[in-house]
Symmetry: C2
């Protein structure tokens, strides 16, 4: 497999148009593809249909950017985001594209730390650094960056980022009562207005409905994958790393093509289950990872777990289950207002730790743990993410009450703590294995 | 001066009633009073009328708690807070008392770190630790702790704290548009309802007006002190430490008595100015401290500045100018609704870094700097306070544009970094002195 056409002339032309730092970008891509090869292509027994996703990762700054340039040429909105609170259905309804921005690499952090404190979340620093470096084509090509108020370090960073690139900040309230719903509804309409200004027309009912249908289908595809990877207690047909890759790609691929490809992959996974093909032994400790999102190329924890004898069967995270768990109910909608109302309802179900209280998240985690017959939970939090970090106390207390094995890991994007994490994960998996063998004997 | 009657029998009786850990509390108080003696009583040339405030500090867990017990016996609401967004006028209108809770000491932090992450703001950990330890009588005596959503570590900590003590969380939105105003108004009414439930009656227009008048007067007293300490470019009639002490005490003293005492102090300061009595040489570098609040006994930075040859002439902080800068305009109010509306307007002027954007804060800082003829600014932020920390970039960029000398210091409550801070402050003051002498020569 040839990784990355990012050095080909036609892409370099695009990078030039997007005012990118081409030399620095080459450095980034070469490091990225080396890492991708090391982490993903060394895995054994991968499903055949994962190839599409490998290819799309290799074309993350290639073919996909070329496609987005066509949107740009047709004056269709291109919106980059770092948060799943973005009503992407509206962007898609307008004929535009919505995608997650680069924010998972250590590479850009030193450039961010000239402007931002060192002790904030690495995702924010990484993302901001990519803008400073001009090495992320998704940022460069976007009409605006979508910001929100879910976390305070992001909220304050938009103000600084706005000097480098236009931002649209949506006020996400931190409770879920009627007054917050009223506020939020107005924010959705304002976002819709912004998109309509770009395309120069009001979105019709049909367009909006179509936008919702496309994203609903994408979420359904991801729900099916989530189900298949963990439905059998003794067969796991796809690795956690590969599943994470698919979810990460859901944030930048064309949603319709993506859904088709995920359904194809799922068909294969069903066949694998029927044939008893698993990527791991049947007694492998099944781990749920819960907490903060892992933006590519943040594959650190999954790699550690899966090279230490465990298997990740779920991500309860924004790049994960939290993103695709709820669809927008279109049943009986008759007007634009109806759709916006349903959209509001759907987005209010997101159980981000920015909300207070957020107890529904805890109930959900325990339910998922039982359903997926997991053996243990790793509570993963990015360094300095106060909301998920403080919330871990309540979550972990409840898990302990339920006698669910849990390990908390706080980490950033540096490679420095890999050894330490590996040691802790090893001990955790060992204790789970001990329990499993003890149960099996009884 | 005898520091602290906290060991006397009558107070110990109260501590017992409040279910406090009496032994641990004695440890705390003995450390506190030693520190207070070392920092405050060693100062020279203090105004005579500071004695009242010394006394009130010595009675922080003595006489003042005895007074609050009388409120409790009369079923008057006692509300503890960590934020100036609390509409304290409503509590005072009901005949109750509103006060800041202990949250400035390293003493309680180890006990908090069993439940909370190490890498959140020390104020939150300290405050939470006091509840765990049962060493803060203000917390123990309160009907409820007032929480809010201004910062995420606090917001999430209320959920945990609520298991140990009742909390009332007010949703403070992070923008200042009409929809946020609508949300906030409802929050104020809900807070008022809560207070009314405690007293068992609706608050009348007259009561509310009286409550506002009492707090307005307190703010006027503090405004006058703020003016007097910095009005003359060559005479500073009171140290920064003593002024900070007065502001800190404004958060727990009886507001009417406090105002009278501050006015008495101010009369003396005016006399001092007339007589040319200053606590420092006329060429002493005049420092404005801007940023996060300093809860007692967090006197670290002021002590460093004032024992290193500088003088602090202002605190642009929540325990400082941000708290008292705006009064509630009662002109023409005719109903309870009118008062709430004016209250809303006043509280919306708070330029906390939780807001996005918050540019009015920057303009204000520069205006204050000019008016107070300051020589330099120290941007102070508590460790891991993302909002003030990220906002520092915009503030400092603007200050540099305006050629205002600025030093940023991030610190917690430990004594470990005092030496390092001293070195940095020394160099900063030296550079200011050099500039001043250069200007004087020209």
């Amino acid at each position: 497999m040839i990784l990355g056409g990012y050095m080909s002339e036609k892409y370099v032309d695009i990078y030039k148009k997007l005012d990118m730092d081409i030399e620095k970008h080459s450095e980034l891509m070469s490091a990225l593809f080396q890492l991708f090869s090391d982490v993903f292509l060394t895995q054994k027994n991968r499903p055949e249909n994962i190839k599409y996703f490998d290819w799309l990762m290799s074309e993350i700054h290639g073919k996909r950017i070329e496609e987005l340039m066509e949107f740009k040429d047709k004056n269709k909105p291109l919106v980059g985001t770092f948060c799943i609170f973005i009503p992407e259905e509206i962007v898609v309804a307008s004929g535009g594209a919505c995608y997650g921005l680069c924010g998972g690499a250590q590479f850009s952090i030193p450039d961010a730390e000239r402007d931002l404190p060192r002790n904030i979340c690495p995702l924010i620093k990484s993302a901001y650094g990519f803008k400073v470096q001009r090495t992320c084509p998704y940022t460069q090509i976007s009409n605006f960056i979508y910001g929100e108020t879910t976390c305070e370090a992001k909220k304050k960073t938009w103000e600084i980022l706005n000097d480098l690139h236009p931002t649209h900040v949506m006020h996400i309230p931190h409770m879920k009562g009627k007054r917050e719903k009223d506020l939020w509804r107005e924010e959705i309409y304002e976002f819709k207005n912004h998109i309509e200004e770009i395309v120069g027309k009001e979105l019709t009912f049909e367009e909006l409905k179509k936008g919702v249908e496309i994203i609903n289908k994408k979420r359904e595809a991801l729900q099916r994958l989530d189900y298949l990877r963990s439905t059998k207690p003794d067969i796991v047909p796809i690795s956690g790393l590969d599943s994470l890759l698919v979810t990460q790609i859901s944030f930048y691929d064309d949603p319709e093509r993506f859904s088709d490809k995920v359904f194809e992959l799922c068909d294969e996974l069903e066949e694998r289950i029927d044939k008893g093909i698993s990527v791991c032994e049947s007694d492998t400790p099944r781990i749920m990872v819960i907490g903060t999102p892992m933006a590519p190329p943040n594959w650190k924890l999954h790699q550690v777990v899966e090279t230490t004898g465990g298997i990740v069967i779920n991500e309860e995270a924004c790049i994960g289950h939290r993103y695709f768990k709820d669809n927008i109910d279109l049943d009986g909608v008759e007007s634009v207002e109806d759709i916006i109302e349903r959209m509001l309802e759907r987005y209010m179900k997101i159980d981000c730790a920015c909300f207070t209280p957020n107890d529904e998240r805890i109930d959900k985690i325990i339910k998922m743990y039982r359903e997926k017959k997991a053996d243990g939970i790793i509570y993963y939090t990015l360094s300095f993410c106060h909301t998920y970090n403080v919330e871990s106390k309540k979550v972990i207390d409840r898990l302990k009450e339920e006698k669910i094995p849990v390990l908390k890991i706080e980490s950033d994007y540096s490679a420095e703590d890999v050894g330490q994490i590996k040691t802790r994960v090893e001990a955790f998996l060992e204790s789970i294995r001990f329990k499993k063998s003890f149960k099996a004997k009884r």
